[in-house]
C-alpha cells in the first residue's frame, strides 16, 4: 500500500455541530502533505481522529496499514498545537521519556536526544530544567521528542506557530530532512507560505469540509492569474483589455497608479499586454503575476481568512 494515511468519508459531529464533514484524502509514503485551513476549519479534530484520540462519527481511517492509529502509535510522531512539556524535567530526560513511550530504549533515547539537541544548537541546555528555557528552545525540545524514535508518520499540528522567522526556517529544514529520510510528514497550518515551500501535496479544509486535494501547482491553477500595469492609464482602459475580468487600482509612491487586472480563467495575459502596448499607452512597468497558494486558498474557500 502506497498511502501512509488514508481517510474515507470521515465525519465528526459534537452534538449538533459538525466539526469535520465527509473528509477523504490520503498521504503518500515519504511525502510532505500540508493540511491547510483557517482557524476552526476542523484540522485539529481531524488530527485527533487520525491519532485515535477521538473516534470519527462516520467513516474509516487507515494509518500505516492499521484501522486504528493506537495499534501503531510507536511508528507515529506527534507534535500537538498546544505545546507543553514537564517543566521540571531536563530536555534530555523529557525526550528520553517520551521516546521511551514510543518503544525507544532509555539509553538509546538519551544518546539520540543529546545528538539532536546538539544539532539544534541546544547542547548547552540539555541538562537545564525546561522551565528555564525560552519558548523557542522548549518548542524545539518538543519537536525533537516527537521525532526522536524515528517515526514513519510524523503529524505536526500548527508546528510554525509561535516560532520566530529563523526558527521557522530551521523547522522547515527539519521537515525536509524527515521526508528525505523516508518519513511521511503531515502538518497543519493556516500559513500558506510554509506549505507552498514544503509540500508535495496539499489538502484544503474550510468549515470542516475538503475544498481541495492535490499538488500545490494544481491548487494554484484554481486561482486566476493577474496582469499588473503601471503608467498613464485609467481603470476603464485596463478593464477593456482582452481577457480581463476585473481591475483593482492603487496609488504608488511616484504619484502614479498601479492596476492589477485579474484575468479570466484560460485567458492569455500576453493578449491583454499586447493590446495595452498597441493602444499607445505610456506604460512604465508590467508584470504577469502567477497566483500564490494564498490566492488559491482565497479562491477555493470563498475568501476565508488566511495569511
Amino acid at each position: 500500500m502506497d498511502a501512509a494515511l488514508e481517510l474515507s468519508g470521515v465525519t465528526k459531529r459534537y452534538g449538533d455541530f459538525t466539526a469535520v464533514d465527509d473528509l477523504s484524502f490520503s498521504a503518500r509514503r515519504g511525502r510532505i502533505l500540508g493540511f491547510l485551513g483557517p482557524n476552526g476549519a476542523g484540522k485539529t479534530s481531524t488530527i485527533r481522529m487520525v491519532l485515535g484520540l477521538v473516534a470519527p462519527t462516520v467513516g474509516t481511517i487507515n494509518v500505516l496499514g492499521a484501522a486504528d492509529a493506537r495499534a501503531v502509535r510507536e511508528r507515529i510522531g506527534f507534535l500537538p498545537e498546544e505545546r507543553g512539556l514537564y517543566r521540571r524535567m531536563t530536555p534530555i530526560d523529557a525526550i528520553a521519556f517520551l521516546g521511551g513511550l514510543k518503544g525507544l530504549p532509555t539509553g538509546e533515547g538519551r544518546r539520540r536526544a543529546a545528538a539532536m539537541l546538539e544539532a539544534q544548537g541546544l547542547g548547552d541546555a540539555a541538562k537545564r530544567q525546561i522551565r528555564h528555557l525560552s519558548k523557542g528552545m522548549a518548542q524545539k525540545v518538543q519537536l525533537i521528542s516527537a521525532i526522536v524514535h524515528e517515526p514513519e508518520l510524523v503529524i505536526l499540528d500548527e508546528p510554525f506557530s509561535g516560532l520566530d522567522p529563523v526558527n521557522q526556517q530551521a523547522l522547515e529544514a527539519v521537515i525536509r530532512d524527515l521526508a528525505a529520510r523516508g518519513a511521511t510528514v503531515v502538518f497543519s497550518t493556516h500559513v500558506m507560505q510554509h506549505a507552498e515551500r514544503l509540500c508535495d501535496h496539499v489538502v484544503l479544509l474550510a468549515r470542516g469540509a475538503k475544498v481541495f486535494d492535490g499538488s500545490v501547482a494544481q491548487a494554484r491553477g484554481h486561482a486566476p492569474r493577474a496582469l499588473v500595469l503601471e503608467g498613464a492609464l485609467d481603470a476603464g482602459t485596463v478593464a477593456a483589455l482582452p481577457g480581463v475580468e476585473s481591475v483593482a487600482s492603487e496609488a504608488i509612491e511616484d504619484g502614479g497608479t498601479r492596476f492589477t487586472a485579474t484575468l479570466r480563467k484560460g485567458a492569455a495575459g500576453q493578449d491583454a499586454l499586447r493590446a495595452a502596448l498597441a493602444g499607445g499607452h505610456d506604460i512604465h512597468r508590467f508584470e504577469m503575476r502567477e497566483p500564490s497558494l494564498h490566492d488559491a486558498f482565497i479562491a477555493l474557500t470563498g475568501g476565508e481568512a488566511a495569511q
Binding site: 484520540l53 506527534f78 500537538p80 498546544e82 512539556l85 514537564y86 517543566r87 521511551g100 513511550l101 521528542s145
Partner: protein
C-alpha cells in the same frame, strides 16, 4: 519496560527525586519533636515563678496553699513578704508585682494570693502578672478549699484520717470477655486490636487522601502544561491512568515505609513489649492483609476519581468546585471511625460498611473485632465491583477531560463522561 511502568517511574521520580520531598519528610519529626520538646525546654530554662501568700484569716490557709504549690510538677519559688499595715495593701501589691518586694527578692513577684474573710466566707484576691496562666490561681484555690473542708469536718468531730482512708477505698475491677485471649480475662493486649484497627483506618484515610491529592495536582499540572495530549498520543488511557496511580502509590508507600521504619524502630527501642503486642495484632489478626486489601481498593477508587477530575482542570481552584461532593463523601467515614472502636457491631456501622466509598475505612476499623466472614466477603466483592465501575467511568472522563478546553462544571463533566469525549 512497558509504557505503564515508564509513566509510573517518571511520576515516582518527579516527587521522590526532589529535595522538597525529603525535606518535608524530615520536617515531620522535627516539628513533632519541637511540639513535644519546646514547652518542656522553655519550662526548664525559664526562672520559676515567684509567688507570695498572705493569709489574713490566721487559719493556716497559707501553709496549705504553699504546700500545694511546692508539690507542683514545676514548683514556684515562695517569697516571704510582710505588708506595711500603714499603707494601702493594693498599692504595695502593685509595687511588688512591677518592681519587686525588696529584701532578698531581686525580681518582681509573679503572683500574690491574699486570703481574707471569716467563717465560711473566705475570699482569695489573686494578684498576678500572667493573665493567661491560671494554674497558680487554681492551686491556691484548691488548697484553701481543701483546708476549709478539713476544718469544717474537724469541728463536726469527724476523724479526718479515717475519712480520707474511707474516701480512698475502691473495688478491684477485673474485666472478662469471651473474646479475651487468656482465660477470658481482658488485658490491654485484648483491647489493642480495636485501637490498632482505628489507627490503621485513620492511616488508610490519610494515605488515600494524600495520594489522591498528589495525583490531582500532578494531572492538573500536566493539563495546564499541555502534556496530557502528548501522553494520550503515546499511550493508552489505562496505561496513563494506572501508570500515574502506581507512581503516586509508590510515593505514598515510600512515606509510609520511612515512617513505619522510624516509628517501629523507636517503639521497639523504647517499648519493646508494646511493639511486640502491636506486631502480634497486625500479623496475628490479619490486620495487615485487611489493610493492604482496603488500601488497594480505596486508593484505586479515589485516585481514579481525583485523576479524572484533574484532567478537566487547569488550576486547583477549578478542581475545588468539582471536588466538593467527593470531599464531603470522604469526611463521612471519619465521623463514624471512633464509633467503630466502641461499637464495632452497631447496626448503623454495619449498614454503612456496605456503602462502597466507606467500605475501606469502616471495614479496616472493624476488622480487629472480627466481623462475620459473609460481611467481609460481601463488602469486599461490592467494593471491588464498584472500583472496577469507577475506574471505567474515570477512564472515559480522563480521555474527555484531557482533550477538553475551558472551564467545566459538574453538569458539564457528567455530560462529557456520558458522551465519552
Amino acid at each position: 519496560m512497558s509504557r505503564l511502568l515508564r509513566i509510573a517511574a517518571r511520576e515516582y521520580g518527579a516527587y521522590v527525586r526532589t529535595v522538597g520531598f525529603w525535606l518535608s519528610m524530615l520536617m515531620m519529626p522535627v516539628v513533632s519533636g519541637l511540639a513535644f520538646g519546646a514547652p518542656a525546654y522553655l519550662e526548664s530554662h525559664s526562672p520559676p515563678p515567684l509567688v507570695a501568700v498572705i493569709d489574713q484569716t490566721d487559719r493556716g490557709f497559707d501553709s496549705a496553699a504553699i504546700a500545694t504549690l511546692k508539690a507542683d510538677k514545676s514548683p514556684p519559688e515562695i517569697a516571704q513578704v510582710r505588708p506595711d499595715p500603714g499603707k494601702p495593701l493594693p498599692d504595695q501589691l502593685k509595687t511588688w508585682l512591677t518592681v519587686g518586694p525588696g529584701g532578698d527578692s531581686a525580681r518582681p513577684l509573679t503572683a500574690v494570693a491574699v486570703i481574707h474573710g471569716s467563717g465560711d466566707s473566705i475570699s482569695i484576691d489573686f494578684w498576678s502578672n500572667t493573665l493567661t496562666d491560671r494554674s497558680l490561681e487554681r492551686d491556691v484555690e484548691g488548697a484553701v478549699a481543701d483546708a476549709m473542708r478539713d476544718q469544717r469536718l474537724a469541728t463536726l468531730g469527724i476523724d479526718l484520717p479515717a475519712l480520707k482512708a474511707a474516701q480512698a477505698l475502691k473495688p478491684t475491677l477485673t474485666a472478662f470477655s469471651p473474646k479475651a485471649a487468656a482465660g477470658g480475662k481482658v488485658a490491654f493486649r485484648d483491647r489493642l486490636p480495636g485501637i490498632v484497627g482505628f489507627g490503621t483506618a485513620m492511616l488508610l484515610w490519610m494515605m488515600i487522601l494524600t495520594g489522591a491529592g498528589i495525583l490531582l495536582n500532578s494531572v492538573i499540572e500536566e493539563k495546564s502544561n499541555r502534556v496530557l495530549e502528548v501522553l494520550l498520543a503515546s499511550a493508552s488511557v489505562p496505561e496513563i491512568m494506572f501508570g500515574k496511580i502506581l507512581g503516586v502509590a509508590g510515593v505514598t508507600l515510600t512515606v509510609l515505609a520511612v515512617w513505619a521504619g522510624v516509628g517501629g524502630t523507636l517503639l521497639f527501642t523504647l517499648r519493646p513489649d508494646l511493639a511486640a503486642d502491636v506486631a502480634a495484632v497486625l500479623l496475628g489478626k490479619g490486620l495487615v492483609v485487611y489493610f493492604l486489601f482496603y488500601l488497594v481498593g480505596g486508593y484505586l477508587m479515589y485516585a481514579a476519581i481525583f485523576t479524572a477530575i484533574g484532567s478537566f482542570c487547569e488550576t486547583t481552584r477549578e478542581a475545588q468546585t468539582l471536588l466538593g461532593p467527593v470531599m464531603a463523601l470522604l469526611m463521612i467515614p471519619m465521623i463514624f471511625l471512633t464509633q467503630a472502636i466502641r461499637r464495632p457491631d452497631s447496626p448503623l456501622l454495619e449498614a454503612l460498611s456496605w456503602f462502597p466509598p466507606f467500605t475501606p475505612f469502616l471495614m479496616t476499623a472493624r476488622a480487629a473485632s472480627e466481623p462475620p466472614l459473609w460481611q467481609v466477603l460481601g463488602t469486599g466483592v461490592l467494593m471491588a465491583a464498584t472500583v472496577a465501575l469507577v475506574v471505567w467511568i474515570a477512564g472515559r472522563a480522563f480521555r474527555a477531560g484531557a482533550l477538553s478546553t475551558g472551564k467545566i462544571d459538574l453538569k458539564g463533566l457528567i455530560l462529557r463522561v456520558r458522551g465519552g469525549e
